[in-house]
Symmetry: C2
Subunit: 217 residues, 2 copies
Amino acid sequence: MTENDRGISQAVVSRLPRYFRYLGELKDEGVERISSQDLSELMKVTASQIRQDFNNFGGFGQQGYGYNVEYLYREIGKILGLDRIHSYIIVGAGNLGRALGNYLNFERRGFLLKGMFDQNPRLIGGSVRGIPVMPMEEMDRFVRENAIEIAVLTLPKASAVEVADRLARDGIKAIWNFAHVDLNLPEGIQVENVHLSDSLMKLSYNLTRYSKEQEEK
Amino acid sequence: MTENDRGISQAVVSRLPRYFRYLGELKDEGVERISSQDLSELMKVTASQIRQDFNNFGGFGQQGYGYNVEYLYREIGKILGLDRIHSYIIVGAGNLGRALGNYLNFERRGFLLKGMFDQNPRLIGGSVRGIPVMPMEEMDRFVRENAIEIAVLTLPKASAVEVADRLARDGIKAIWNFAHVDLNLPEGIQVENVHLSDSLMKLSYNLTRYSKEQEEK
């Protein structure tokens, strides 16, 4: 949703985490250098795509004999902001909220869960990894006092818009939105949507189209 | 990941569920007709994008005075395969698996949850909406006997690749993959990835870039 005004398209940005993931695996396997050709085969994208993507960030000094894996991993990590600590809250402590709160991977990447919020009295007072679930009335003060950067919205659509507006007023910097609605927030608040139903429908489209093609054969 | 060989790009396909969502809301609000211009303002995409997207499917007969909302909603639903029933299982009955199993919206769209599987003895024998969590050993027979179309993988990365290979042999048609790994499956098996960490990193990139820009000002 966020349009980049620095000439780096969101399509490129979307591919960075995948590079980061593959480079992390290579690093863990002890690989020190990799050519764009080998990386291309591994990731099933063209070598020229890789070079083009990397050129957006100065090219990372490929020297003919390939990229330094550790260096590239670290540099892409920096570009992704993973060299900083980001505090976040989860609003909506249902199954999905708790699932996200339990992902230790996020913690490892520097995303620190500071609190969870819900309006359901049966969930309030509970906790995930020791992080308490607090009532919605306490959210605004908590966000302001703790300078929370990111809010994860795992709420029903009906309340998500209002909660997002509140968070905007509280000074939130980014919203990771799982509610099935598009948010309209002031410029400067980054929004990343995960519309799970949209993803399932895309799968359904491809499944249906393929089935029809097979039937026609 | 799936490449379409019929000239309709996955970028267009990715936008269809969003059209479907907005048209469903318009329909629920009693709107009968909408011009591409009004739809454009509502959805914040250009009217020419909308017309181009729809032209991939024959244009849906816009008549100068706009699209028939109900008709367009129904037609896009058909294209997305939502006029068919799709059976699915969830492999991995942790928080995320249970969250997805509880989404009644999927059921409403014709996606019927038939079973859940896990290897954790504490989860086996439990249930979500009356759907039992069964042991992993029973998965292959269950998929074959019930002609399951879709498997949702909410498993750790380490076991996802092996389980996906098993499902491929069992005749699964599509995999909705939440495991943080890319699957390499035989052609004809549709895969839709939801890599949550990638999405969070994209948010982190936009957040970091924006903060840096503000600091530089």
